[in-house]
């Protein structure tokens, strides 16, 4: 079974409208729905788990603040959240400057396979991909995470990244091709090591 998370725009807008009126339930519902995507988006680009957690929860604190103010999002909540997350990331990089691509910490996917051999292979391959992803330019990482990782539409991705559709179309191709290439290199590196 595939669990499909489609942007059900009417439902999302309704939830957002309730949240704007101060409905706490609606706000918490938004949080429960969107925390994981936002966290994953950030976590893939930030090495430190605590930092990722801070940045992700800050996105929702910002939402609370904006709902109380005049610049509350009116629609496309998901895009708004990702945009804020992206800004947070940019600020974060601006502050820390250096961005380590090393540290292959315990990024072990939940595996249903108990065979240690299989687990090892799975872990290696996921780590490899993660590491390869980190080697790409930031906008390439972003487009890959949004389009493939979060299954966002071309238009949504373009809105979040502030580019036009044509630019995203070509960026997503270049990003994928580069990742493919880097993956090969990382694989060789692993093979030698």
């Amino acid at each position: 079974m595939i669990i499909i998370v489609l942007p059900d725009i009417p439902a999302e807008d309704r939830l957002l409208a309730l949240a704007r009126q101060g409905d706490r339930d609606a706000l918490m519902r938004i949080y429960e729905s969107y925390f994981a995507p936002i966290y994953n988006f950030i976590r893939l680009r930030v090495n430190d788990r605590d930092q990722a957690e801070d940045l992700a929860s800050e996105v929702f604190v910002k939402l609370v603040e904006s709902l109380r103010g005049r610049n509350a999002p009116q629609h496309s909540l998901r895009g708004w959240l990702f945009r804020v997350a992206r800004n947070q990331l940019n600020d974060h990089y601006g502050r820390t400057r250096h961005f380590s691509t090393e540290a292959l910490e315990e990024w072990v996917p939940a595996s249903t396979d108990t065979d240690p051999e299989v687990q090892f292979i799975q872990t290696m391959s996921v780590e490899r991909a993660r590491r390869a992803l980190r080697l790409l330019a930031p906008d390439q990482q972003e487009v890959l995470i949004l389009r493939f990782g979060q299954s966002l539409s071309l238009q949504e991705t373009a809105d979040i990244m502030g580019r036009n559709i044509a630019a995203i179309k070509s960026l997503q191709f270049r990003a994928t091709a580069t990742l493919r290439q880097v993956l090969g290199e990382v694989q060789q590196e692993y093979g030698r090591g």
Binding site: Y39, N40, S57, A110, I121, Q122
Partner: protein, 464 residues
């Protein structure tokens, strides 16, 4: 290298894979590009596997929730005055100038204390804000402000007339404690007789140059032995808890009862059963601590599914603690029948298609989150008027027959942009091959095709 045609093919393939189709489906659609397309799509699909371990996400979510609740508790920012608009005509401009002058002074008055020239204006503006919003939280916040002011005045040994509300906590002779304020109550003070600790009162008093607060009139708002409402002045909290007890109550973001003794105030309490903060539990345990399940009281409980209030927000299932969302039991109205969720379906789309509201659909099907549908799930929907291809009520098997039916449904029912999803599905790739490619544990044979070159089955559950 990258011509437009290829870029479009690649983009379309990404969309299809995101909608649940396989790499193979895309290969069939774009045989010309297959050689380049396949490795790229397989690479892209790797990203999908990189979501953080669900335990980690859950932990982060729990901590983030606390931060969010903290942010919700933060006081609301001050309301801004209406900006001046220069293009208004003269008559309106005069009015606006008066308005701005009033509110401008109102802002200056905000920092004034009882006895100051501007203090009356402050109370008037507050009264306007209060009557405009009718918000009990705002009211509580004003009362809290009032008490703070009184403390300031007492500290400054200034003489002023004051009024505030609070709960009588201690009575020893002529010295009372109302909330945290020491109050001198002479025996002949109007309304003082019969007041007992625990009562909520409105006090008219005067401060003296000696730093005392002398009551001139006391009005009983609510007796202490009543089932206590979560009053804005949070006197239900043990006295040792915080120096400024009113703080907790001003936070309640949802409608909560006012201090005034209107009997209908109780009706609004049950509408907000989510306030399960332990601090308030002393007074409000009977109203908040219970899970909103089968209490057959006169007041409507939110999560009762069969009630006629269809708002999904009342279900409160997202609150982590003790509320059990399992009260709902699916029921099937007479002219409704079963429907299997297909790729591209959305609940609101289905609801609109069948002429019912999203709330009705969710209520009948016991759904709590309108955005999560699982492909293959059985929903109960009103019988479609035009098509006869729907799954019969007792549909319990997944088979090719259904797949045929579903491709028909796509063209008929869903006008969503994913309606093209199954167009080419055709003979060889049935839904099962789609399913297996997304989730790893079933390890179907199709996976070997999809993931060649990548780790097969490399899975964590990509369940988000």
């Amino acid at each position: 290298m990258a011509n437009q045609d290829f870029l479009n093919a690649f983009n379309d393939s990404v969309d299809r894979i995101n909608a649940g189709q396989t790499v193979e489906d895309c290969m069939r659609l774009y045989p010309r590009h297959a050689a380049v397309l396949r490795p790229l799509l397989e690479t892209g699909r790797l990203i999908d596997r990189l979501s953080a371990p669900s335990l980690e996400v859950e932990q982060a979510k729990t901590r983030g929730r606390m931060r969010l609740e903290e942010a919700l508790r933060a006081p609301l920012p001050q309301k801004r005055t209406t900006p001046f608009r220069p293009y208004l005509n003269l008559a309106a401009a005069v009015l606006v100038i008066v308005f701005v002058a009033t509110f401008g002074a109102g802002n200056a008055a905000q920092s004034s204390l009882p006895g100051d020239t501007l203090y009356g204006l402050k109370q008037i503006t507050e009264g306007v804000q209060l009557s405009l919003s009718g918000d009990p939280a705002l009211r509580a916040s004003f009362n809290e402000r009032r008490q703070d002011e009184i403390k300031q005045i007492l500290a400054m040994n200034r003489v002023a007339d004051v009024a505030f509300e609070g709960t009588v906590t201690v009575i020893t002779g002529t010295t009372w404690l109302v909330d945290e304020l020491p109050l001198q109550v002479a025996e002949q003070t109007a309304g003082a007789a019969g007041i007992a600790p625990g009562d909520v009162v409105r006090v008219v008093a005067a401060t003296t140059s000696g730093g005392e607060l002398k009551a001139s009139e006391i009005t009983l708002i609510e007796t202490g032995d009543q089932p206590p409402l979560p009053t804005p002045s949070a006197t239900l909290i043990p006295p040792s808890s915080t120096p400024r007890p009113t703080e907790t109550a001003t936070l309640t973001p949802t409608p909560s009862p006012t201090v005034t003794n209107e009997p209908d105030a109780t009706a609004t309490i049950t509408a907000a059963p989510t306030q399960t903060r332990p601090v308030v539990a002393v007074g409000t345990a009977t109203m908040t601590a219970q899970p909103p399940t089968a209490v057959p009281s006169a007041t409507p409980r939110p999560t009762r599914a069969p009630s006629q209030t269809p708002l999904p927000t009342r279900t409160a299932t997202l609150i982590p603690t003790p509320i059990s969302p399992t009260v709902c039991a699916t029921m099937q109205p007479s002219n409704w029948n079963g429907y299997r969720v297909q790729v591209g379906d959305t609940l609101s789309g289905l609801a609109a298609n069948r002429g019912i509201t999203l709330e009705q659909l969710m209520q009948i099907n016991c759904l709590t989150d309108p955005r999560f549908i699982v492909v293959g799930d059985l929903l109960i929907l009103p019988r479609a008027s035009s098509t006869a291809t729907h799954i019969p009520d007792d549909a319990g098997t997944i088979g090719t027959q259904e797949d045929n039916g579903s491709s028909n449904d796509n063209s008929n029912d869903t006008s969503s942009d994913n309606s093209s999803v199954d167009d080419n599905g055709g003979g060889s790739s049935n839904d099962n091959s789609n399913d297996n490619s997304g989730v790893d544990d079933s390890g179907g044979t199709d996976n070997s095709n999809d993931n060649s070159g990548v780790d097969d089955n490399g899975g964590h559950g990509s369940d988000g």
